[in-house]
């Protein structure tokens, strides 16, 4: 930040001991940003389906490639995690769940839930033989 005089600044991230709740707060932003660009992939999918078989085949071959699968797996987890993180924030918006025990429990639960749900989604896709 440009300032005319070097006024003291409030302490930022580096002075705090890293904690799960802090990491999740940052991850909520990072997943949100990733999903922001992921929206273009979502539109590409629907767009390709609208354009015709060749465009759809191109999309599918990219999606089925190894980098494509890695990106789609990351996309799935980011989406599920941001969704659960968002629900957590909506609970906090009502003024509930701010005591340390609850906050820590919600943090652990949200990580466990996002990982589990992501794995379940991919298991359903893979075991239903849907994977291209």
């Amino acid at each position: 930040m440009r300032q005319s005089d070097p006024r003291p600044l409030s302490p930022h991230l580096q002075v705090y001991r890293p904690m799960l709740t802090m990491a999740l707060s940052i991850i909520h932003r990072i997943t949100g940003s990733a999903l922001y660009f992921g929206s273009a992939l979502l539109v590409w999918w629907v767009f390709a389906a609208a354009m015709g078989p060749e465009a759809y085949a191109t999309f599918q071959s990219v999606a089925a490639s190894l980098p494509g699968q890695v990106i789609l797996f990351g996309f799935t987890w980011a989406l599920v995690h941001h969704l659960i993180g968002g629900l957590k924030h909506l609970v906090w918006d009502t003024g509930r769940g701010f005591d340390l025990v609850t906050v820590e429990r919600m943090a652990r639960l949200s990580v466990a839930a996002s990982v589990t749900i992501t794995l379940v989604i991919w298991a359903v896709v893979l075991f239903s033989g849907g994977n291209p």
């Binding site: 949100g32 922001y36 389906a49 969704l83």
Partner: protein, 129 residues
């Protein structure tokens, strides 16, 4: 500086900009609306993963699916534009850059939205290839 206005008086009418809580409120409203819509998108993607073109095309152009997709894009794009705006305002402090990046945020959102709009229109009105 002390104010003679009551807290209620200050908050009523949302202040001089008349939009004090609009951003916060829209972020929450689109978040709540996004929950069922994202669940729908996950269901749709799982359903069509690896499906052939004809199956994908016929499901995506089903009126109910196309309409909920339109809702999803509208809500999601609004939510992500608001979210990215906050991130930009938090981290970009040079005024000229901030303005450019905020405009880029809007441009990106509208371009993605225009692509979605065209795709949904073509799914609905276009002949199956």
């Amino acid at each position: 500086m002390s104010s003679f206005r009551t807290p209620l008086g200050r908050v009523r009418g949302l202040g001089s900009a008349k939009s004090g809580t609009a951003h916060f409120w829209q972020q929450r409203a689109t978040a709540i609306a996004g929950v069922p819509l994202v669940l729908f998108l996950i269901w749709l993607a799982v359903n069509l993963a690896g499906a052939d073109y004809a199956t994908a095309r016929s499901l995506l152009s089903h009126p109910a699916v196309t309409i909920v997709l339109a809702l999803s894009f509208f809500v999601i794009l609004k939510h992500m534009r608001l979210g990215m705006q906050v991130i930009i305002e938090d981290y970009v402090h040079v005024e000229s850059w901030k303005m450019i990046v905020l405009l880029a945020n809007s441009v990106f959102t509208y371009v993605v939205g225009a692509g979605a709009l065209y795709a949904l229109a073509r799914l609905t009105f276009g002949a199956m290839q």
